[in-house]
């Protein structure tokens, strides 16, 4: 029998090889993929989040845990898709126009993927039109915007305006983050939420999408 505690701990400790192997073993033995995700993997990621909030984990631990989670999910996703199950939600993410910084954006993308979201990563220096087109094409329910510079955070507003003028704003939630960004700025430009770290971004996304 596959040892599910081992899978839980492998995600918690960021060991992607063990996570993948135990997942494969469990699936080979006929485990229900959805039950694996909900009863073992998501609780492990929740514990990762708790440890981060408690200052026991920092970015490196978050990253390797998300990578282990992703390794397991890669085995599980095709099985869920074959059943016709949709991912938790689809999120379009990118660093806004004029800004080339991707560390924060990549962290949030990794954590969202780890939490079971399907992430469409548009990269850096992304113009507003490209966000709008991706939302439409991928039928996304959330847009996540990153900016590191005070000079580029203005581009976030342009994305929201573009979503408005394309008639897409009503179907997506917009969350923003990055060094100069604050809750106040989020309120001012009409974003739905702001987070100052990758872990809280996942909780925010879940809350906004009730996922």
């Amino acid at each position: 029998m596959a040892d599910l505690q081992k899978l839980h701990d492998a995600i918690l400790n960021g060991n992607f090889k063990i996570a993948r192997d135990v997942t494969q073993q469990a699936l080979d033995e006929g485990a229900d993929p959805a039950v694996l995700v909900h009863d073992t993997m998501i609780p492990a990621m929740n514990e990762v989040g708790r440890r981060y909030e408690a200052n026991e984990y920092f970015v490196p631990e978050l990253l390797i845990a998300a990578r282990a989670m992703k390794a397991s999910l890669e085995l599980i996703r095709p099985l869920l898709a074959a059943r016709g199950a949709e991912p938790v939600a689809r999120v379009v993410i990118g660093t806004v126009q004029g800004d080339l910084h991707d560390i924060g954006k990549n962290l949030v993308a990794a954590m969202l993927e780890g939490a079971g979201f399907e992430v469409v990563d548009l990269g850096v220096d992304v113009p507003p039109e490209k966000f709008a087109a991706a939302v439409q094409e991928k039928n996304a329910s959330m847009v996540a915007l990153s900016a590191l510079l005070t000079t580029t955070m203005y581009s976030m507003k342009a994305v929201i305006e573009k979503l408005n003028s394309s008639g897409l704003r009503g179907k997506v939630k917009v969350i923003i983050g990055g060094a100069p960004v604050t809750q106040k700025y989020a309120d001012e430009i009409g974003a739905d939420g702001y987070s100052n770290n990758a872990n809280a971004a996942v909780a925010l996304a879940r809350k906004l999408l009730a996922a």
Binding site: L100, H101, I103, N106, T152, P180, T182
Partner: protein, 291 residues
């Protein structure tokens, strides 16, 4: 202590400079343009900023080379790496005119080691190339700054040491509940020990949330090492007022708290994001009259 730093610090704490990016914006740098490219496109404007700080009383000024490593320049023309660094140093030296020392700025690569976006070898080669170009152009010291990952900072330090000029390493402490960790979770004590061990000539903290949060970090760095401590806090956090970015701390408030930084053991004091030549003037006035 390295003789260059020793002679600078002989008469007590040294006032360094303030932010460059916001100054460049005020001179017309458009969003999305790599600021270091101005060393070639608008050397007169870069000179103007350096000169403003010298006139304000900075005894150490930096160079407009923060992002001039081959990795950060990759989408802007990595072939210009050496030229951008060389020009950056000459502009600052010319503006300093012997009145201020020129510490050349080396910023992060913008890539993460732990996620495999960049290798140790690539980082070492890029920082080594930049450090050699800056030293050859006549920089008085090298400042490895705004580092969020101690491993990357150590690679840069080891690559810069062979130049023989002093190497200062300054990290960002903005993570964890107490805002006293680097993004990767390192404490000031851990950072101080590792950097001292690897041969840093001074260590420090810059950027972050503001001068209040820098105070305890500064005191802990001082306690953890015998090396001089370099600090450059932000002018608080930026807020959007009437569509304009405004930083929350005024030059006077900043200068007042700088006295506490000095008591906490800061040897080099300046400002990061949101600070201006007015902040330097206020610092000079405040630290001169301090007991």
């Amino acid at each position: 202590m390295h003789p260059t730093l020793q002679s600078l610090l002989a008469r007590g704490p040294v006032i360094t400079d303030g932010a460059w990016g916001t100054q460049m914006q005020s001179l017309g740098l458009p969003p999305g343009v790599h600021p270091d490219l101005w060393n070639l496109l608008h050397p007169d404007r870069v000179h103007e900023i350096a000169a403003r700080y010298v006139a304000a009383g900075s005894r150490v000024i930096l160079t407009n080379t923060f992002r001039s490593n081959r990795i950060a320049l990759s989408s802007h023309g990595a072939e210009k790496t050496v030229q951008l660094n060389t020009t950056g140093v000459s502009i600052s030296k010319q503006a300093a005119g012997g009145k201020a020392a020129v510490f050349a700025s080396i910023g992060p690569s913008g890539k993460m080691l732990i996620s495999g976006d960049v290798s140790e070898e690539e980082l070492s080669a890029a920082f080594g190339e930049q450090a050699r170009a800056l030293a050859a152009a006549g920089a008085d010291a090298l400042l490895i700054e705004t580092m969020t990952d101690l491993d990357e900072a150590l690679i840069a330090l080891r690559a810069a040491k062979p130049t023989g000029i002093p190497v200062i390493v300054s990290m960002v402490f903005d993570s964890g509940r107490e805002k006293d960790r680097t993004m990767m979770g390192s404490t000031p004590e851990h950072v101080a020990a590792a950097l001292a061990d690897a041969g840093a000539d001074a260590i420090g903290a810059n950027c972050g949330f503001g001068i209040e949060d820098t105070l305890p970090v500064c005191a802990r760095l001082k306690k953890a090492t015998h090396l001089p401590v370099w600090v450059k806090p932000n002018a608080g956090l930026p807020a959007m007022i009437d569509g304009k970015i405004v930083y929350s701390t005024t030059p006077e408030e900043f200068a007042l708290r700088a006295q506490m930084l000095r008591e906490a053991g800061a040897d080099f004091i300046g400002g990061c994001c949101g600070t201006t030549p007015d902040f330097v003037r206020a610092l000079v006035a405040s630290l001169r009259t301090a007991p």
